[in-house]
């Protein structure tokens, strides 16, 4: 067992990626995720990997596209404005059915915004972001340990389904230190017969491409891809359920907002309010069934988000608008206190 060390969330992502066999990193500095690039710059040359600071986020994501096409584990990381720049490349990677990891350590927006923590890229991450019909598998860690664990998981899912995955964190998780254990894992090489890595004169050449000028062919790739998405929705939903067994009210929150909400749930229980927490770990696929089931049990929901209210739409959809869904939110880099969440739970209980 590896020793527990204190690490920043950003560093944990980088180390976990290396342990997962990622030897190619392309990025461009932006607060609050720069420690990922800094860590990779230090480590990659020592282990025969590639670290490259590209001339822009656009260049970095296209380098990821190239390396993914060649069949290697590859990643990039950025923060909100930088991830917006990457959207074209992400769409191409999704359209070419390639595995890759994109990390977004979110900051306040829109525009250049600020550098403090935010969750306001939820729509961008879960609903597409770039053009065309596609999804990313979106994983939302809530601790430094999960920053590491879900990085490995993201690479595995990307390879399993041949699709890009996103780790959606925020500035708090990137900057904070917690004890973390990143065990050495046996990385089993995944067969990638589709990779463009040289035919050696022994097979027909592979093509990695997202361009289909004949609409019937393009339609076919879309339908096939969505069959794959159906599989992902059926098999890969992850969530944490906290004090939900006898809950009459349900808080829904992910990432750092879920940790703040946990404090509020514990405090509300002490005041005699039966409340629980559902924490989506996969934001896409969203734990729709779990929320739908909770809607049969509870009298109402509170969606806690560092945004103007984005995930709340998925909570309303999943619960079939059968029960009231209140919003507890801060934006622009501000973070709610547990007391603010508690006040919203009280408001719901008083309805």
């Amino acid at each position: 067992m590896a020793e527990k060390v204190l690490m920043k969330g950003n560093e944990a992502i980088a180390e976990a990626a290396i342990k997962a066999g990622c030897r190619h990193y392309f990025g461009y500095p932006i607060t609050p995720q720069t420690e990922i690039a800094a860590y990779m710059a230090k480590r990659m040359p020592k282990i025969g990997g590639t670290f490259l600071q590209a001339e822009s986020e656009v260049a970095a994501i296209n380098m990821v596209y190239g390396v993914a096409g060649a069949g290697f584990r590859v990643m990039t990381s950025s923060s909100s404005p930088g991830v917006s720049l990457k959207q074209e490349g992400i769409s191409y990677i999704a359209g070419a059915d390639l595995p890759a990891l994109i990390v977004n350590v979110q900051r306040g927006g829109p525009g250049l915004g600020g550098i403090q923590p935010s969750q306001s890229d939820y729509f961008q991450a879960t609903k597409g972001g770039g053009h065309g019909d596609y999804h990313l598998i979106v994983l939302a860690p809530a601790s430094v340990q999960e920053m590491a664990d879900l990085t490995g998981k993201a690479f595995d899912l990307a390879d399993k389904y041949r699709c890009p995955t996103m780790l959606l964190a925020d500035g708090t998780l990137g900057q904070m230190m917690e004890p973390v254990e990143i065990p050495d894992v046996e990385v089993t090489p995944v067969e990638k017969p589709w990779a463009v890595n040289g035919t050696k004169g022994k097979r027909a050449h592979n093509i990695v491409n997202s361009l289909y000028l004949k609409p019937d062919q393009l339609e076919k790739t879309n339908f096939e891809r969505f069959e794959k998405y159906k599989q992902i929705e059926e098999n890969e939903v992850m969530y944490e359920s906290f004090m939900m067994e006898d809950a009459e009210y349900c808080v829904v929150a992910f990432g750092i907002a879920a940790r703040i909400s946990k404090n509020a749930v514990v405090a509300a229980r002490k005041n005699g309010i039966k409340v629980g927490l559902i924490r989506p770990i996969t934001l896409w696929p969203f734990p729709t069934e779990v929320i739908a089931k909770a809607a049969e049990q509870v009298k109402g929901f509170v969606s806690v988000e560092l945004s103007m209210g984005q995930m709340i739409e998925d909570v309303r959809l999943a619960s079939g608008c059968k029960k009231p869904v209140l919003l507890c939110n801060r934006a622009g880099g501000m973070i709610m206190s547990p007391e603010e969440v508690l006040a919203k739970i009280d408001e719901l209980a008083a309805l």
Binding site: P32, Q116, G171, Q175, M176, M177, E178, P179, I335
Partner: protein, 178 residues
């Protein structure tokens, strides 16, 4: 037990370093810990601070808004956070740099001339660890045993002499009566 510590001062006073040391010491004592720095433009010239939580249970929110322990290394920090402390909180004040007294009557205040003590001891950059030493003694949130083990995690192995001076600073603070 849950201890929520806020350490605040100017950038360069070793606020983040002190927090990291406390977090490691807590980790070695089997506690759940978190360390969260302020980051961004406020680190130059303004106040830098960090939240450290030591707990028997998994840490929920890592943000310390209402500290049980405040270590104030400059006046703006005391001005900013005095009112936020919980009743009964322990406030550690570098009295070389902060001339005023704590206004609230429902908290325990400890005045340590840490910057002067550091200068007198020939370790002018280690007022932060003198404060930590005093904080350990008065708060009891971590023990004063095996300080070296945790120090080794935050001091570069290439600069072993730093281990000694940090120990000296911790002891100076721990032994300070006042």
């Amino acid at each position: 037990m849950l201890t929520q510590i806020l350490i605040a001062g100017f950038g360069g006073q070793g606020v983040l370093f002190a927090g990291k040391f406390i977090a490691y010491k807590g980790l070695f004592e089997g506690k759940e810990v978190s360390w969260l720095p302020s980051y961004g433009p406020e680190m130059r010239g303004g106040t830098a601070n960090c939240s450290v939580i030591l707990s028997d249970d998994p840490v929920g929110s890592p943000i310390v808004s209402n500290p049980d322990v405040l270590m104030a290394m400059n006046l703006p920090s005391l001005d900013k956070y005095e009112d936020a402390c919980v009743p009964g909180a322990k406030l550690f004040i570098d009295s070389t740099l902060i001339e005023r007294k704590v206004v609230r009557g429902d908290v325990d205040a400890y005045y340590i001339p840490a910057t002067k003590l550091a200068n007198d001891a020939g370790i002018p950059t280690l007022a932060n660890m003198i404060m930590v030493g005093k904080m350990i003694r008065e708060s009891g949130c971590i023990t004063f045993d095996d300080m070296e083990e945790a120090l080794k995690k935050v001091v570069s192995a290439k600069r072993a002499n730093l281990l000694e001076v940090n120990l000296k600073a911790l002891k100076t603070g721990y032994d300070y009566e006042g």
